[in-house]
């Protein structure tokens, strides 16, 4: 490919690349249609032209065959006249005594249309008898005329001359006839002696001319002319022009052709020449069909074909448009839907029309969208739940019972002048609320969470007058990790309510924080424990286990952890009746510092 071609190709590719599917399909369909139609048309046209040519040549051959037959019949009838004259009349008469006139006149009258004259001469050229005029011109020089000389050269044969003007008789009407002379040598009997003479039958040239005129009237078959045996033109539709040099004919070349059809080039014009030879005379009928005639003949068909092609291309263009629209429209619709989704509208109806593949694509996008929608809904729901949970957790901190009881305790302490204890409990309470609020953050460090738990337990211990013991087993490493806030306090509350109620000073609550691959915070008591079936219910929503205390159960804790850190984390509860219960918080190992840097959430 040349540089130019490549640039064009690149440009076309780029152009097509920018266009829609429908446009590309339509353009390529139309181009293909035009190319195909043109190819078909050219092929058919060529085929038709060849066929046309053959048909035309064939029909011309038939026509000139007919001409040949007619001409042969004519020439034969002339020879028969000559024979009749010779054998029936001349042979039986003695010219010195008998006249030939009567028989000659009879023959002439019977064939007047094709004959100009019949005449008989002796070997010196003296007239023995002639019809219709029997006066020879003084200066006729008969013995030197061509037909006379050739008859004498070959004694046995008939001789057909070329067309010439009859130069024999003194016709007072001033008429001159173009004739073809049929001459032969005859045996004459004069006074009992045999001598030679010449019998002349002058055929009317116009009979031959008429024949050819008829053929040449149909100009769509080219033209037909007649050649003598040496290539002289006997008849040609443009004879006068050829005689006066205004026109040339390829007759000398055509003379050498034997019967059949030939392709030749004459004066720059390509043409088909069909040749037929006439019996006896060696004359040749030559038919010439210029190649332009074939083209002209097909030009009508060409126009028709061109019209059909244009019409077909037009129809195809419409069909192409329809088909490509059928193909491209579902894709286009799908594209529109996707664009709509892209702009954030998940509620639109996605089109699922078109072919199988496009339907599949549509379906996939549709399910994707519905999944997206579900996910979005889930997110919204989760967010809402989180908010609710946090509110709940917060509420649990300002549980009026707890506050009331604690304040009551403080009042009581002050009344009994136990100021030191009152100060402690107020201090603990303040710290408790400070951590509860944590400036609105939901994530705090494990350290803060544990000190919150300690504040709470310190208050509760004063309130419950040390009915139970609290043990702390905290791995210092754990303190720097992050946790959801206010998750230990509800567990402790539960441990106090359910675990310590019936323990008379023997209750132990252990708060343990440690880490393995995760961070664990355990609240264990040695209380009554929970029946196994209840344990399973604890972490399920809508459980039937009656809530007491803060009213915000361990479920809240569990859900908040899961909402924040995922399903893998949360709360585990193990309980053995009469042995105690252990609630284990399971958290991912995320450093509080890292989360704080990211904004605390």
């Amino acid at each position: 490919m040349t540089e130019k071609g490549r640039t064009f190709y690149e440009r076309a590719k780029r152009y097509i690349g920018r266009k829609s599917i429908q446009f590309t399909l339509e353009l390529s369909f139309t181009i293909v249609a035009i190319i195909c139609m043109t190819l078909i048309a050219v092929t058919l046209q060529k085929k038709f032209e060849i066929e046309m040519r053959e048909t035309k040549i064939e029909s011309t051959e038939q026509v000139i065959d007919q001409v040949r037959l007619n001409l042969e019949n004519y020439l034969r009838s002339m020879m028969r006249i000559s024979d009749a004259m010779y054998y029936a009349t001349i042979k039986s008469k003695d010219i010195s005594t008998d006249s030939l006139e009567t028989e000659m006149n009879l023959l002439y009258e019977a064939n007047k249309d094709n004959l100009v004259s019949v005449a008989c001469f002796d070997i010196e050229g003296n007239l023995l008898g002639a019809t219709p005029i029997d006066a020879v011109k003084q200066n006729a020089n008969i013995a030197y005329q061509n037909w006379f000389v050739t008859a004498n050269e070959e004694l046995e044969n008939f001789h057909f001359s070329l067309p010439h003007v009859q130069n024999l008789f003194d016709d007072s009407s001033h008429r001159y006839y173009w004739v073809i002379s049929l001459s032969r040598i005859v045996e004459l009997t004069s006074k009992g002696n045999n001598q030679r003479g010449v019998l002349l039958v002058d055929m009317n040239y116009s009979t031959i001319e008429q024949q050819f005129k008829k053929v040449n009237a149909n100009t769509s078959l080219g033209y037909t002319y007649l050649l003598g045996k040496n290539g002289e033109i006997i008849y040609h539709p443009k004879q006068e022009l050829i005689y006066s040099g205004l026109l040339q004919e390829n007759n000398l070349e055509a003379m050498n052709y034997s019967d059949g059809s030939y392709q030749e080039t004459f004066q720059g014009e390509k043409r088909v020449v069909i040749v037929k030879t006439i019996g006896y005379t060696g004359w040749k009928i030559v038919s010439v069909i210029p190649n332009t005639f074939f083209q002209m003949a097909v030009s009508g068909i060409q126009i028709f074909a061109l019209f059909i092609i244009m019409l077909s291309v037009c129809i195809l263009a419409f069909i192409n448009q329809f088909v490509s629209r059928q193909i491209a429209k579902p894709i286009k619709n799908l594209e529109d839907s996707v664009r709509e989704i892209e702009s954030g509208n998940l509620d639109i109806q996605i089109n699922e029309g078109g072919s199988y593949e496009i339907q599949e694509l549509g379906r996939t996008i549709k399910s994707m969208v519905s999944q997206m929608r579900e996910l979005m809904d889930d997110i919204v729901k989760e967010q809402e739940q989180k908010r609710k949970m946090e509110l709940g957790a917060l509420q649990s901190q300002i549980n009026p019972h707890f506050l009331y009881n604690t304040l009551d305790t403080i009042v009581w302490m002050i009344e009994t002048e136990r100021y030191e204890e009152a100060i402690t409990i107020v201090t603990q309470l303040a710290s408790l609320f400070r951590i509860s609020l944590s400036k609105g953050k939901t994530i705090i460090s494990v350290k803060d969470e544990i000190s919150h738990a300690q504040n709470y337990m310190n208050i509760q211990k004063i309130r419950y007058k040390n009915k139970f013991e609290v043990r702390y087993d905290i791995d210092e490493e754990v303190c720097k990790y992050a946790t959801v806030k206010l998750i230990i306090q509800p567990l402790l509350e539960n441990a106090i309510y359910y675990g310590m109620e019936f323990m008379d000073g023997e209750g132990i609550i252990t708060l343990r924080a440690y880490m393995e691959d995760r961070v664990y915070i355990e609240v264990a008591d040695n209380g009554l424990g929970i029946p196994k079936e209840n344990v399973e219910q604890l972490l399920v929503e809508n459980n039937q286990v009656q809530k007491r205390g803060s009213g915000v159960g361990i479920l809240n804790v569990h859900q908040r952890i899961q909402l924040r850190f995922g399903e893998a984390y949360g709360l585990e509860i193990e309980s053995e009746p009469d042995e105690g219960t252990c609630a284990r918080i399971c958290l991912p190992k995320i450093l509080y510092e890292d989360l704080k840097d990211k904004g605390g959430e």
């Binding site: 011109k137 010439h164 443009k238 006066s244 205004l246 037009c314």
Partner: protein, 310 residues
């Protein structure tokens, strides 16, 4: 959408192509059905044999070039008025071209020059002034006259002899040219005395030879000679059958025969070319032959002298 517009454009383009194609086809088809040319030929004086061969040439060319040939002659060749009227009438009819054989070169030229119509005009046989506006198809009249003169001198073989010249119409430039050529050829022949030049024989002195300057003049001279049964040798122009007959009879000694067929054919050809605005030769020379009794039936001469179509 941009693409939609483009599709519409392409469809529009296809339609335009179809319409243009249809127009081309229509034009092509129209050209095939080329209308027939309408060509008027205004010849000189009506005469039975004078125009036969010319007409054959006209008709033949009419066939070949798809032209309708309207052939007119005038009743009185001595008066240009009739021909002028005819020319004006044909010009009025808006024929495609006219072919004129003027009976009065001067006057006809004036008529043609005055005409405002731009109809192509082809002049035949006759010659207008040099630098003329029209295309012309004619034999070389001067040369024809000269050759006839030469033949005349040759045949007299130095004998003392008298001659009269019949000029049928001296207003025709062609006849003047022939006369000029003829006289020039005779200039050195002291044995020949030209007794008179006239349009009529009757009133003139008896001479040994009469020379006719055109076809009709030659024929008239022959008739006169025959009627008076005088031994007068005739020389002249034209291939009217009577002329040939009397040449066969030995009354006419020499004839100059222009190729009238070619003249007719070429004039129509030139006219069609002029209508089509193709290049047209200003001056187309037609050949001629000089025949005597001996060469009358030569193969070549036959072809020009005797019209093939009978």
């Amino acid at each position: 959408m941009n693409d939609k517009k483009e599709i519409r454009n392409i469809l529009l383009l296809v339609f335009v192509i179809i319409i243009v194609g249809a127009l081309i086809i229509a034009k092509f088809y129209g050209n095939n059905q080329k209308e027939r040319y309408n060509i008027s030929v205004i010849a000189g004086e009506a005469h039975a044999e004078r125009w036969v061969v010319l007409q054959q040439g006209l008709e033949k060319a009419g066939n070949d070039y798809n032209a309708q040939i309207n052939f007119y002659t005038v009743v009185n060749g001595k008066d240009a008025r009739e021909q002028k009227d005819l020319i004006n009438r044909e010009l009025e009819k808006k024929v495609d071209a006219i072919i004129v054989c003027a009976v009065d070169s001067q006057e006809i030229q004036e008529v043609l020059q005055k005409s405002e119509r731009r109809t192509p005009v082809i002049l035949i046989e006759t010659d207008l002034k040099p630098g003329h506006l029209y295309s012309q198809v004619s034999p070389d009249n001067y040369e024809m006259g000269y050759h006839l003169g030469e033949e005349f001198v040759r045949q007299q073989e130095g004998k003392e002899t008298t001659a009269g010249i019949l000029i049928d119409n001296d207003k025709i430039a062609a006849q003047q040219e022939r006369l000029k050529g003829f006289e020039e050829a005779l200039a050195s022949a002291k044995n020949i005395t030209i007794k008179w030049r006239a349009s009529d024989y009757q009133s003139n002195e008896r001479v040994d030879n009469i020379i006719g300057m055109d076809c009709v003049g030659t024929q008239n001279a022959t008739e006169i000679s025959k009627v008076n049964n005088e031994k007068i040798s005739i020389y002249g122009f034209g291939n009217a059958e009577a002329n040939i007959y009397y040449m066969d009879k030995g009354i006419i000694k020499a004839l100059v025969v222009p190729n009238d067929f070619n003249m007719g054919y070429l004039s129509v050809q030139n006219a069609v070319q002029a209508v089509e605005k193709d290049m047209v030769y200003k001056n187309t020379i037609v050949e001629y032959i000089v025949v005597t009794g001996d060469t009358l039936h030569n193969e070549e001469n036959q072809r020009i002298i005797f019209p093939l179509v009978q």
